[in-house]
């Protein structure tokens, strides 16, 4: 469970549902509460999926606009956050498909980019570890990358992941296990390469 949601997941969902209902009843300025609550989570999710800092804010904006426009179709069967996560993942998928993965930085560029980011903004404190994880994630099959990010970085439950990915919990279970195996292999290889270089 997402730690920030864990204390009262149900009440969070209920609160979000109340806000959505209010917005649909014309109290539109309340949408800012949802933006405030989920914007950084969506930004991080988009960054982790696309691995491109330059498009994070644009895609985040598109996600919230899309969600706002689609709000009348919101069914109240799932949480608002699982719903908006799904929109975000679809946006990322669209973006990557349209760009034919051109945005995926090769390792050297990523290194350079990250060192630039570090110098300028001190975004990462443990840049090497983050880069290694990013690199390992990038080498994963897209489906595995997606599910691993939702579980390990976003800390969502199987139920939430199944809602976001629109699949059965059993599928989440087996896909996640395979994703972890695959990820572990890649990380081991990366560590091995790193140590060989040293």
């Amino acid at each position: 469970m997402n730690p920030e949601l864990s204390n009262s997941s149900n009440s969070t969902i209920v609160d979000d549902h109340k806000i959505v209902k209010e917005i649909l009843n014309g109290n539109k300025e309340l949408y800012s509460l949802l933006v405030e609550k989920y914007m950084e989570k969506i930004r991080n999710l988009i960054f982790n999926i696309t691995n491109n800092i330059f498009i994070v804010d644009d895609l985040t904006q598109e996600v919230f606009i899309k969600a706002y426009e689609a709000l009348p179709q919101f069914q109240f069967r799932s949480g608002f956050y699982t719903w908006i996560y799904r929109i975000a993942l679809n946006k990322c998928k669209d973006h990557i498909r349209k760009k034919r993965l051109k945005y995926y930085f090769p390792v050297l560029s990523m290194n350079k980019l990250s060192s630039d980011i570090e110098d300028n903004n001190n975004i990462y404190s443990k840049i090497d570890d983050n880069l290694l994880i990013q690199e390992a994630l990038n080498r994963l099959k897209y489906d595995f990358k997606e599910i691993l990010i939702l579980k390990e970085i976003e800390n969502l439950t199987y139920q939430e992941i199944s809602e976001i990915l629109n699949c059965e919990i059993g599928t989440v279970k087996s896909k996640l296990a395979r994703a972890r195996t695959s990820f572990a292999k890649i990380v081991n290889q990366l560590f091995k390469d790193k140590n060989e270089k040293k």
């Binding site: 539109k28 949408y31 800012s32 933006v35 914007m39 950084e40 930004r43 491109n52 800092i53 330059f54 498009i55 994070v56 804010d57 985040t60 904006q61 919230f64 606009i65 706002y68 426009e69 973006h95 349209k98 760009k99 034919r100 993965l101 051109k102 945005y103 995926y104 090769p106 390792v107 050297l108 560029s109 350079k112 980019l113 630039d116 300028n120 903004n121 975004i123 404190s125 443990k126 570890d129 983050n130 290694l132 994880i133 990038n138 579980k151 390990e152 970085i153 199987y158 279970k173 087996s174 996640l176 296990a177 395979r178 972890r180 195996t181 990820f183 572990a184 990380v187 390469d193 060989e196």
Partner: protein, 511 residues
């Protein structure tokens, strides 16, 4: 139990997603079965890796931006005052009549309309984008010499008009900013200070072979530079955002043909701030080469600068080349056009520009922020986000980083590892790979072309030994020099390795 099943159960156990009876079963297995225990430890380790994962820096301004945008959309969607139903047919007739009137007016008074719009609408950018004609664009400077291209690669400067009263300068490769400057350069003084090509050749004691190669590189890339900076009779200045990469590419291609001593001198005169070899680390050789190959793309995004706005539009490169060819003698095309820009830009103005992707899909674009500043002698246009745009904009179909599995991180390293083939030319040809494969291993090498001097026949033996080890079943085309002197040695090698068919060798020689 199958390994997959074990992973699935242990994975769900760690995530606390199992039923009570399953928990006891898995717990028991982990305590008593080594395979289950190993699996448990491996997944825990994976989770541990993610525990230190850092988040990106929050963007405090974004929330406001999103809300403003939503507000804007809301207002735009409901712009009309509700019309009572009985007036709807009348309103439709009125709108239709207005459209017909407007279309007729447009055809009859096209110039007037254009003038009216240009003078009155706030959305000047759209108008410019739609009214620029490809045949109105000319290279700011055509007929560059080899010397000009050399100075561009080394110092990032180009003469921007035919009388050399203006200088165009781009940022250094290692600077974090991307900018282009138009500077006044009276009597060509600043340009003259830079070391010309011939002096450089003398300074580094260039050999005839090196000179010929470098000359041919400079000659070959001239047209790319010429088509990268454009101007029009209507005060547009347009720049191909690949200009910076082109400079890196030429710089790299020149340095590749120098020995290490010459290379050091070359770096020293270039004034490019760099630590040892850092410059090369940031270069992606395949990508740099693709910049020139990229010319096969008929249309490219150019950044257009106009005194009141900046925007991006695709330009037809092929037709530009024709213009250059046709105007080789007429080099006075745009003289002094850029002059006017100096006084017209407002200081420190910032504009966002949008790059469409190559397929022209409207919703797939990148946004760059451009700022510009000027005084009476200099105009600087800064594009801080250009690094991302360049990656995006260049055709990257064959952009593969060469990382040969466990052995080499790039082509050069591969050459070095195979042997110190300093005097042999080795080229690798790779199989086509899908976009998401970023690394190559030896399996991806389709063909290897090698030029051998048979006087260094020992190298061939070494190479073939290495080939057996790392490049099994690969086609190797070997081209020989001075074959007659060493025919016997070759036969000996052939009998040793049975890898290359001597007939093939002879075929290649005959070719």
């Amino acid at each position: 139990m199958r390994k997959n099943k074990i992973y699935k159960l242990v994975s769900a156990f760690i995530d606390n997603e199992l039923e009570d009876k399953e928990i006891n079963f898995v717990l028991d297995k982990i305590q008593n079965d080594l395979e289950w225990k190993n699996c448990y430890e491996e997944i825990l380790k994976t989770k541990q890796i993610f525990s230190d994962f850092k988040k990106i820096k929050p963007n405090e301004k974004l929330q406001n931006k999103i809300l403003i945008e939503i507000n804007r959309i809301e207002n735009f969607e409901n712009p009309f005052i509700p019309i009572p139903k009985k007036y709807i047919p009348f309103a439709i007739t009125l709108v239709a009549a207005a459209i017909v009137f407007f279309v007729v007016f447009l055809f009859q008074k096209k110039d007037t309309i254009e003038y009216f719009l240009q003078e009155n609408t706030k959305n000047v950018r759209t108008i410019y984008e739609n009214t620029i004609a490809n045949n109105d664009l000319f290279p700011l400077r055509s007929s560059l010499s080899k010397d000009d291209v050399f100075r561009f690669a080394v110092y990032g400067v180009l003469p921007a008009d035919t009388t050399n009263e203006q200088l165009l300068k781009i940022s250094y490769p290692n600077e974090k900013k991307f900018y282009v400057e138009l500077k006044k350069d009276e009597k060509n003084n600043n340009y003259k200070k830079e070391l010309p090509l011939n002096e450089f050749y003398k300074q580094v004691n260039i050999t005839t072979k090196q000179k010929n190669t470098i000359d041919s590189i400079l000659e070959k890339v001239k047209i790319n530079i010429e088509t990268s900076i454009l101007a029009s009779q209507k005060d547009y200045l347009a720049i191909n955002p690949e200009l910076w990469v082109m400079r890196d590419a030429i710089f790299y291609e020149i340095s590749k043909n120098l020995n290490s001593k010459q290379k050091n001198e070359f770096f020293a005169i270039s004034k490019i701030p760099h630590k040892k070899n850092v410059l090369y680390e940031n270069f992606d050789i395949t990508r740099l080469r693709n910049v020139f190959e990229g010319n096969k793309i008929p249309k490219k995004d150019y950044i257009f600068f106009k005194p009141d706005t900046i925007f991006v539009k695709k330009v037809n490169i092929d037709s530009l080349k024709v213009v250059i060819e046709n105007n080789k003698k007429n080099v006075h095309i745009i003289k002094s056009r850029a002059n006017r820009l100096f006084s017209q830009y407002k200081n420190n103005n910032v504009i966002k520009i949008v790059f469409e992707n190559n397929e022209g899909e409207k919703d797939a674009h990148s946004v760059a922020t451009v700022s510009f500043s000027s005084d009476k002698n200099m105009l600087r246009i800064e594009i801080p986000d250009l690094s991302s745009l360049i990656k995006y904009d260049i055709k990257l179909d064959s952009f593969y980083r060469v990382k040969l599995k466990n052995h080499y991180k790039n082509e050069n390293e591969m050459k070095r590892k195979l042997n110190d083939f300093n005097h042999n030319v080795i080229e690798f040809e790779f199989n086509d790979k899908s976009d998401n494969n970023k690394y190559l291993d030896t399996n991806d090498v389709k063909n290897i072309h090698i030029e051998f001097d048979t006087e260094k026949i020992k190298n061939l033996e070494k190479f073939l030994l290495q080939k057996e080890k790392f490049l099994k079943n690969k086609d190797v085309n070997i081209y020989f020099k001075n074959i007659d002197k060493h025919l016997n040695s070759l036969k000996k090698i052939d009998s040793m390795f049975k890898i290359i068919n001597l007939d093939t060798i002879f075929k290649n020689i005959i070719k």
